[in-house]
């Protein structure tokens, strides 16, 4: 250990010598993942959305707890069951000096869902008719009642019609079309190296403190921490949990944390009668034990969430009881975190006809979520103690998600028991319920990520009803009820909510966000 310390000190000294401290108005941020493009409609991915929020703005923005706040729209309201009116902010200028008007909004919603070769398009822009009423008023209408209109609108960044009309994604990457209204202007996007932005001095809102901000993608966790300690960057996102304890005692560093909207959970195969990765103790084929609620309950009881949080996540997570942490819209008020009860789990397994347990394989992604491999390993230990002999197989994320969604015969999900995570992009509970536990239905656009093929008419009916309810209080209650039914039936087995940690040099403060975005606007001195 002294050796490690000495080495670190040596590295730090060397780095300080090489890189003189940046000027007080410059900010350098180490990112954990690189944005794939500077086109705000190309790829619906957290690193992209986070970075492009500096350059572009939405009609409605999310605050750090994902509450909706006015952005380019000063106000919005439903004027009838299917139409919403947005009053646009006046006097806003694009980075090239031209004024922001309703034409830009109409153009944006026509473009957002239709970017060629998009790996993950903004489909929420579709199915909405956007009409210009005057220069600063637009109406958006849908075919049926749609209470989530503001949440959807809050995901689409507005681009300038003048600059983006006919522009391709490379035009954005070169900076030519990347003209926004945001607090920063894009200076240069150098893939694999850095992204530079500079302050927009004509910004309509509160002007940020930083004159220039440089974002540097540093994928490896230890390297990111080393860069911060060396003074090579001022702040890093996604601080590895292994280093947090040490960084807390480091006088040069300040941490900020926030519970994220991302839950880490397990899905079991709810649909097949024989599931390929559940076998008898002797390796013989058995009927799918995971369809039995008692087995699922036993698994949930065998999972020691406190140990998961304290040992595996090193204290940087929160035990989960449902799809989203308690302060979100539409969550259940009565669900509690399942207590660890090994004897109860064994008893339930016996009642379900597995007094000696069975064999199961847990599949998961390798490096997608914080500590995913370690979570899987700890889960396997806990389930094995209860009698479910669990093996784990962690796959590269791309490979895992394809197989987990459609790798089985006939395009069904391949695995029996998976470790996955979900961050509700809309910042409310229907953003988790509809894709995860509503019956899989391509045409209806529901259950798209229902990799356990869970299907419960009661849950479906409650979700459908909620989606037709414009009244917020009423809708929150319906979504809460749907959550109760789904979790009591263990449609998913929740483990914990991720907590994200940002680390900055002493003197800097970051307003940590639940949507995992890293925004220079939130950094203060």
């Amino acid at each position: 250990m002294p050796f490690v310390r000495t080495t670190l000190v040596a590295i730090a000294i060397a780095a300080f010598g090489l890189f003189s401290p940046a000027l007080a108005q410059d900010l350098r941020i180490g990112l954990s993942a690189e944005p794939t493009a500077m086109d705000p409609h190309y790829h619906n991915l957290t690193p992209n959305n986070s970075l492009l929020s500096h350059v572009f703005e939405r009609l409605i923005e999310n605050d750090e707890k994902q509450n909706l706040i006015p952005g380019l729209a000063e106000s919005w309201k439903a004027i009838n069951d299917t139409t919403w009116e947005f009053k646009l902010r006046k006097g806003v200028k694009w980075h090239d000096g031209s004024p922001f008007t309703a034409d830009d909004v109409v153009f944006t919603f026509a473009r957002a869902g239709n970017v060629p070769n998009s790996p993950s398009p903004f489909i929420v822009a579709k199915g909405k008719t956007v009409t210009k009423i005057d220069d600063h008023t637009v109406h958006m209408s849908t075919a049926a009642v749609y209470p989530l209109m503001p949440n959807d609108v809050a995901t689409i960044m507005i681009v300038s019609k003048k600059n983006a009309d006919g522009a391709s994604t490379p035009d954005f990457n070169s900076g030519k079309a990347a003209i926004g209204t945001g607090a920063f202007k894009l200076v240069k996007f150098t893939p694999g190296d850095r992204i530079e932005v500079t302050r927009n001095d004509d910004y309509w809102g509160a002007k940020p403190k930083w004159k220039t901000v440089t974002f540097r993608p540093i994928k490896a966790g230890p390297a990111r921490v080393a860069a911060l300690l060396a003074g090579d960057v001022d702040m890093i996102e996604d601080t590895p949990t292994a280093d947090i304890e040490r960084l807390k005692t480091e006088p040069k560093v300040e941490l900020s944390q926030e519970v994220s909207n991302r839950i880490i959970y397990f899905f079991v195969d709810h649909s097949r009668d024989v599931t390929p990765f559940a076998k008898g103790k002797d390796g013989a084929e058995i009927k799918n034990p995971l369809k039995d609620l008692r087995v699922r309950k036993a698994m949930s009881k065998a999972l020691n969430r406190d140990v998961m949080v304290s040992r595996v996540m090193e204290g940087v997570a929160i035990p989960a009881s449902q799809f989203l942490p308690d302060h979100y819209f539409g969550v259940s008020k009565k669900l509690k975190v399942e207590k660890y009860d090994l004897e109860g789990a064994k008893k339930l397994l016996s009642e379900a006809g597995f007094p000696n347990g069975f064999k199961l394989t847990l599949h998961g992604p390798n490096g997608r979520y914080i500590n995913d491999v370690k979570i899987a390993e700890a889960t396997a230990q806990m389930l094995t103690r209860a009698g479910i002999e669990t093996a784990i197989e962690m796959l590269p994320p791309g490979n895992f998600f394809t197989r987990a969604s459609q790798g089985g015969p006939g395009g069904v999900p391949e695995f029996s028991f998976i470790l996955v995570g979900w961050g509700s992009g809309t910042g409310e509970n229907s953003g988790a319920l509809r894709p995860l536990v509503a019956t899989f239905d391509k045409d209806k656009g529901q259950g798209a990520s229902n990799r356990g093929r869970y299907s419960n008419p009661k849950v479906d009916q409650l979700i459908d009803e909620a989606m037709k309810t414009v009244d917020d209080g009423k809708r929150a209650e319906l979504l809460g009820q749907a959550t109760d039914v789904a979790i009591e039936d263990l449609a998913i087995i929740p483990s914990h909510y991720q907590v994200n940690t940002w680390a900055a040099r002493k003197g800097l403060k970051y307003k940590a966000r639940s949507d995992e975005n890293t925004l220079a606007m939130g950094v203060t001195e």
């Binding site: 250990m1 050796f3 490690v4 310390r5 670190l8 966790g221 230890p222 921490v225 080393a226 590895p240 292994a242 280093d243 304890e245 040490r246 140990v307 998961m308 040992r311 595996v312 390798n366 491999v373 370690k374 899987a376 390993e377 700890a378 396997a380 230990q381 806990m382 094995t384 103690r385 002999e389 669990t390 093996a391 784990i392 197989e393 962690m394």
Partner: protein, 310 residues
């Protein structure tokens, strides 16, 4: 048969003769002249013995998930297990495995994979190389071009590709290592067999009308063995290093049954936070294992190479 045998091993002493200097004795005495190699051989022998008897001497079966508890994770060396009172002499890793037990099991896997893949690769490579040298012509051309092609790929790249196609598991790792390594053996054996097959004793055997298979296996092959043994030691060390690399990259063996490479990889992220022991001890063991094999291999080469004979 007697004639042939006499030709193959002309210096074999008569049975019962008072042989002060048999080839084996000469070989051994020459080998042990080098102190470093002797030390390496002894160390290697200790490691092998420990690895073989590991299941009976370790306090914990690190692959039995019911015995490993994440509550005990990342304990520094010398901490005690709260339940059984056993001392974790080398600490525990991120999953709560006793590092000493995990390392001994890890060495077991590393050695088994290295030796097994080495033996299979040697069997395949030697037969193919021998055939190429003996048959000549198109067969030789074809085989040796395949060998050239194989050797033109970086070993780690080829192994990664194979694992991607075959999937994970100890058998797949062995297949990948054999595929990567047989060509070295083939080339070595062919070169030696080419020289040997032009010698008089082979011609004599041919004149006697012995079958091709017999000439290859009983006459040429034994004379190709010394260089083959040297290549085999070096390649076994390579195989162990390659397996560790694959495991370090996370494509080797299952997470719950770590080999040395995976143990090192698991501890890597804790290096900055001062928990050095998780990577450090397995790293030392891997280093010592590979180094001792290489030292033994070097000495074998010096001893077996007739050109270096004094």
């Amino acid at each position: 048969m007697t004639i042939a045998d006499d030709i193959v091993a002309p210096e074999t002493p008569e049975a019962g003769a008072i042989a002060v200097e048999t080839p084996l004795r000469r070989f051994l005495s020459e080998f042990f002249e080098n102190r470093l190699a002797t030390l390496a051989l002894v160390t290697l022998a200790i490691i092998v013995v420990l690895a073989v008897i590991a299941p009976w001497i370790v306090p914990q079966n690190p692959y039995d998930l019911a015995q490993v508890d994440v509550l005990d994770s990342r304990l520094p060396p010398g901490e005690k297990n709260a339940v059984t009172g056993y001392t974790y002499w080398l600490g525990t890793d991120g999953a709560g495995r006793d590092l000493l037990s995990a390392m001994l099991y890890g060495v077991r896997i590393s050695l088994a994979v290295g030796v097994l893949s080495g033996l299979i690769a040697m069997a395949i490579g030697a037969s193919v190389g021998l055939l190429a040298a003996y048959a000549g012509g198109r067969v030789e051309g074809f085989i040796m071009r395949v060998v050239d092609l194989q050797l033109s790929f970086p070993a780690i790249l080829l192994a990664l590709m194979l694992i991607a196609i075959l999937g994970k598991g100890i058998d797949k790792i062995i297949i990948a290592l054999v595929t990567v390594q047989w060509a070295y053996y083939a080339r070595t054996v062919r070169a030696n067999a080419l020289v040997e097959s032009r010698k008089e004793y082979v011609e004599a055997a041919r004149c006697l009308g012995l079958s091709h298979a017999r000439i290859m296996a009983r006459h040429i092959m034994p004379n190709c063995l010394p260089p083959l043994i040297v290549v085999a030691t070096v390649q076994t060390a390579h195989a162990i290093a390659l397996e560790a690399t694959l495991s370090f990259l996370g494509v080797g063996l299952p997470q719950t049954e770590p080999s040395l490479g995976l143990l090192i990889s698991n501890g890597f992220e804790y290096m900055l936070s001062g928990k050095y022991w998780i990577s450090f001890f397995p790293g030392i063991v891997l280093l010592v294992t590979i180094m001792t094999i290489n030292l033994v291999g070097d000495q074998l080469r010096d001893t077996l190479n007739p050109r270096l004979k004094r």
